[in-house]
């Protein structure tokens, strides 16, 4: 495959970019709850369906629990299915999250990352993404509006691959990406995109004429074997994700890798993070390099399955690791990414000094001053955990 597909440069916000990707993916079914904390992704999609641009069933359900339940049924019937939600909406889907992944139903969900209540807050945290981290979904994190568009297309292709058959979440930071307009390139048409993402070819689709059973009872006798298979299958999907990243990179001319790195090779201190803050951090790292400070940054485009091998490889020689979490796991040693990273480091037998930085909760802006503060703490103290920029510290 080579880059022969025409693309158009335009300006869209993250919500619109995802909606365009879903249009270009030519989905069959969109099932979504349309009210707060929903983003305008599904509002745009309902317009595409209404004006005939997209030939799909749009199911405006009465709750997020129903949204994902209907998406599951449609997926098992062989449809290409999309849903979107954020924060409390993801929480209300929780029961069904596990069922979708365990039944190996490809569904793509856009998650506009927003904080969980209380206090009430509609701005960016990664609480919702982390709430889904153990549920068996593939998870991607977009850094830009362009990536939100691209990763949505990639997610369909990965999820529907018969060697994968797991649902995917495309995370995009609430407001910072969902509501910000940026330039991006989008493909010209559904036909062009179909060269990368052909019509879904379902495996074992439910069919009234040939009944099969999904989700039967499995007790002490078989439940554990089934779950072990599920765990292995999700780990094994990593290889296919790599393949699809490579193929999409060639198709689009934009390079996708599970772990993005800048200046890590000779770095003494490396920041690790997810989502839109990576751009600000790269900007800071360039500034620090000009000042002679050996700092690098690693951001994960793929969060689940955790790209353990590439991650460890990229940080194995550093002295200081700064793990940035836009959430906190209450009662735990730290944030959720910190615990993933710590486990990976122990397994690899490497032991840098690790600082966990909790930042940006509820949309608090991550500014250069705060980045400087994090670097200072990481390189001059043995403090294991800080809440960055919090009053009273």
């Amino acid at each position: 495959m080579s880059v022969t597909v025409r693309q158009v440069r335009t300006g869209l916000n993250g919500d619109e970019a995802v909606a365009y990707a879903v249009l270009h993916a030519d989905v069959d079914v969109i099932s979504a709850y349309p009210i707060t904390p929903q983003t305008i992704i599904v509002e745009r999609l309902s317009e595409f369906v209404y004006n005939g641009e997209l030939d799909a069933e749009f199911i405006p359900v009465e709750s997020e629990h129903s949204a994902l339940s209907a998406a599951l049924g449609a997926s098992l019937a062989g449809a290409r299915v999309f849903t979107a939600t954020a924060s409390q909406g993801l929480a209300l889907m929780y029961e069904i999250l596990y069922i979708v992944s365990s039944l190996r139903a490809p569904v793509v969900m856009a998650l506009g990352n927003r904080a969980f209540s209380a206090p009430i807050n509609i701005h960016c945290s990664h609480d919702d993404a982390y709430a889904a981290r153990d549920a068996g979904w593939i998870q991607f994190f977009a850094e830009t509006v362009q990536e939100a568009y691209d990763l949505t297309l990639i997610a369909f292709r990965v999820s529907e691959d018969e060697r994968v058959l797991f649902p995917s979440i495309v995370n995009l930071d609430g407001f910072i990406l969902t509501h910000s307009i940026e330039p991006l390139h989008v493909f010209s048409s559904k036909d062009d995109v179909s060269k990368f993402l052909p019509e879904r070819d379902p495996v074992n689709a439910i069919d009234p004429d040939n009944p099969i059973t999904y989700g039967p009872l499995a007790l002490q006798n078989y439940y554990m074997e089934i779950k072990r298979q599920q765990a292995e299958a999700l780990f094994n999907s990593k290889k296919i994700i790599d393949e699809v990243f490579d193929e999409y990179s060639e198709f689009s001319g934009r390079r996708y890798v599970p772990v993005k790195k800048l200046f890590v090779d000779d770095a003494e201190t490396v920041f690790v993070l997810l989502g839109s803050t990576a751009g600000t951090m790269r900007h800071m790292v360039r500034k620090w390099r000009r000042e002679g400070k050996k700092v690098g940054v690693v951001s994960l485009t793929l969060y689940r399955p955790f790209p353990e091998k590439e991650f460890v490889e990229s940080v194995k020689d550093v002295e200081n690791l700064v793990v940035m979490d836009r959430s906190f796991s209450y009662g735990s040693p730290g944030g959720q990414l910190y615990m993933d990273v710590s486990a990976a480091l122990i397994r690899a037998g490497v032991s840098p000094r690790v600082l966990n930085v909790i930042y940006g909760l509820g949309g608090r802006d991550f500014t250069p001053d705060l980045a400087e503060k994090a670097l200072e703490v990481a390189t001059s103290t043995d403090v294991p955990l800080i809440w960055l920029g919090v009053r009273g510290d």
Partner: protein
Amino acid sequence: MIEVRWHGRGGQGVVTSSQLLSQAAIHEGKYAIHIPEFGPERRGAPVRSYTRIDDNEIEIRYGVLHPDIVVVIDPTLATYKDMILDGIKKDATIILNSPGGDVPEEYYNFNLYLVDAYRIALDTLGRAIYNTSMLGALVGATGIVSLESVLKVMEARFSGQVLHKNIEAVRRGAKEVKKVG
């Protein structure tokens, strides 16, 4: 990189102005980002929006801290000195919707432009919605994007009478804005 901070009140189209500016810059092949207010969204409450424009890709995602240009859409906010001067660059440009033309002295330390967007809005739209006339004033005062680009992206967003009236508001804003300091 040029950084713009927009001040106005919820419901006045502060976000729309910033969106149109970013899209006009993108239309010209530049890099631009529109970032909406990071605070509460309430009708009538002071809100802000940010636009960054550059020839190179923009990686940073935080709100504008040190604007090159401050545009104040709402005339009743024109005297909020602490808010308007907060963090602005030494050689910054301030553009005010100032029907009376009576503004705090400190503003004259900067490139100060005034326009009676209230009059333009009433003449063109028949109601006190100043955002498009202030967008026009920004273009007239600074030329950071061309008037043609703004009109082009407006055509994609509005239609019919709303488009025609707002185009008139932009044109008049661009023409009638005056440098006073």
